[in-house]
């Protein structure tokens, strides 16, 4: 089981969960844990097992092996359905039903009392500018409006955990932003959000924690900052201020050359005299390098740590070779 030191009471824990379908293993011994209040990204290429994982969390299918724990209790989402909001990947609504009725019905499924559901639904529709549509049929609504209705249905019962399967798929840039803001607003209120995606850009901006999976297996998981720090490909840009003229600069760089040549911390160095680009070894601490550079007598004008993008980490990991091996950030 993955237990990070900074997440003492995870809201969701998967422990070596496995699901096999005829002929292949969709999820293979997957473990992860989600801290309360976090925005958790479940990342992976298509067919990695993200939807199957979410379905097991939601009790839609049962794992063949392993356990799911929600809110500290064993078992999937059905017993806790009042505390969880779920938006499946391919979203749909009853096309012939009236907007208000759909929202109320789905809220009732989450255990909200009918009258309370009506009042809340009306408030939400007003808030999102859909009040004049409440008695219209779903199929009269535009796609964007339908997505709003779905989002209302997902959160109307004020869940503590919201699970979104590929929420950004098929959204235009405007709606992507609207949804991203809505997710951030939820977390400000203390709601934990777990979402799956194969698009890294949004995850890089919003995720606190994440798990990258491929072929049903975990490649990396933990806090985003930890992953970025520990995953290979940390880049360091160093600029030198060696007085006037090229000679001064060369002298300063020369003092640092010993540090650059240390294969324990520097994987690759591109030294341009006044300026050097370093690729650090995984696990190397940039702060140590800074201290050693200062100690070497080099005068620095620039010391900038460039974090690798999540996209790069993802591609590095999920590349055909990397996809086979399970890599842990703390390994």
């Amino acid at each position: 089981m993955t237990t990070s030191a900074h997440t003492p009471t995870p809201i969701l824990v998967l422990d070596r969960v496995t699901k096999r379908f005829a002929g292949h293993t969709a999820v293979d011994g997957l473990s992860l844990s989600v801290s309360p209040g976090a925005i958790y990204g479940l990342l992976g290429p298509n067919g990695a097992g993200k939807t199957t994982t979410i379905r097991m969390i939601m009790d839609i299918i049962e794992p063949d092996e392993g356990t799911v724990r929600l809110f500290g209790e064993r078992g999937g989402g059905r017993a806790h359905s009042a505390r969880i909001g779920y938006l499946p990947e391919e979203r749909g609504l009853y096309r012939k039903m009236r907007v208000l009725d759909v929202i109320v019905f789905l809220a009732e499924m989450k255990g909200v009392e009918r009258r309370a559901a009506r009042a809340k639904a009306t408030r939400w529709l007003e808030q999102l500018g859909l009040e004049q549509w409440r008695l219209r049929r779903i199929d009269e609504l535009s796609k964007g409006m339908q997505q709003k209705v779905q989002f209302i249905s997902t959160i109307l019962h004020e869940p503590e955990l919201v699970i979104l399967d590929e929420p950004f798929a098929g959204l235009d840039p405007v709606n992507t932003r609207v949804l991203k803001d809505a997710v951030l607003e939820l977390t400000r209120r203390g709601v934990t959000v777990l979402f799956s995606t194969h698009i890294m850009v949004q995850s890089d901006m919003v995720c606190d924690e994440l798990c990258i999976i491929a072929r049903g297996r975990r490649l990396v998981d933990g806090a985003l900052a930890d992953i970025k720090r520990t995953r290979g490909g940390q880049h360091l840009i160093v600029g030198f201020d060696g007085g006037t003229g090229a000679a001064g600069a060369a002298g300063a760089a020369g003092a640092a050359a010993e540090v650059f040549a240390d294969k324990r911390v520097v994987k690759k160095a591109d030294d341009y005299g006044r300026y050097a680009e370093l690729e650090l070894e995984p696990g190397a601490d940039p702060q140590q390098i800074l201290q050693r550079l200062v100690a070497s007598g080099a005068r620095l004008s620039r010391f900038e740590l460039q974090e690798p993008s999540l996209n790069k980490i993802f591609i590095d990991l999920v590349g055909p070779e990397a996809a086979r091996a399970e890599v842990r950030p703390d390994a």
């Binding site: 839609i60 059905r78 749909g92």
Partner: protein
Amino acid sequence: MRKVWAVVRREFVERIRSRWFWVMALLGPLFFAAVFLLPTLLARGGGVTRIVVVDGTTGPVGARITQLLDGSRMFRAERIAAGDAVLDSLAVEVGKKRLSGFLIVTDAAVDSGRAEYRGSNVTGLATIGALERTIGEVVTAVRLERAGVDPRVVARARIPVHLETKKITGGKTTGENAAQSFSLAYFMGIILYTAILLYGINVMSSVLEEKTTRIVEVLVSSLRPFQLMLGKVLGVGAVSVFQFLIWGASARILLAWRPAFLGASGMGEAEQVFQVPHVGATTAALFIIYFLGGFFLYSAMFAAVGAMSSSEQEARQAQQPVAWLLVLSFVSMFGMLNDPSSAFAVTLSLVPFSAPIAMPVRWAAGTLPAYEIALSLTILAAAIVGITWIAARIYRVGMLMTGKRPTLKELVRWVRTS
């Protein structure tokens, strides 16, 4: 459970709100009215039949037949003396539809009981029957008179016998006659077949909608698949019972007004092919019980079919085996009506797939021992439990499957492993 109740209510309210439901509610009684009235109207050919009697007799027979026919409400008859050119010109008249046909009567009618009718309506059994009766009456009278019988005696002897039939139910003679029992059985069969098929397919498309829109994932993460299926079947079942209530009410109104309708169409009670039966409380109860039994049995199967299909077209194909079971039960109703207590009929009312139609039909057509009803209901109930158990397993797996329809082998595995 509250969530199941919400599913039931959604199914009920959404269906009652649909235009389709009210069209059915209003068209149903009209349809039944048509079934009651049409056969009688059709049998009468819609009006008066114009014919010509080609009289080749040497006595008064031709004239008397013409007179008798013309006096009936069915015919307008005219007598023409026989001649060579007459037949051809009459045939032309028939071709021009000014005449329905012509009757050729010669002395042979009295001597050997032979006459000839040529017309465009020779398949109209009612017309031909009426002609035969009329000719027969005149010929009999003439023969008797020739034998020296007093014409007054002949007239009195002609009074026809009307055989009254009454059904015995549970050792008691009821007011129903054979025609009424037959039409009751017939209508029950039609309504049971139509309603079970219709509402079963309703369940199927409802399942399919939730599957194709993926709403099912949200639902199944809140309540168990079996609860969802149960709520759906109960909801659609409630709609069907409501529909029957509406039909029952409007049938009562139609019946109350029937003399007025019949008066307007100019026919008497006795002339109707279908007689309106009296529907007792026991019959109604038996009908509803078997309808609900059949509905639960078939809608469980239809729900499974909906769950294993991924599109309307696929579902339409996959439902055929289920629909055929129902069609077979319906078709065999006609065999059962001939002899409601045959071994064939008894077997069908014990087989759970045909019992929902066979049992009410047999009940209406004849008498049924109580133990047979009890046995058939027990088997039906057991089958509902068994079939629902299997269907629920297929439903549970199928609802989340996309892609191609499962083979029979895969279905068996779903049932075993889920």
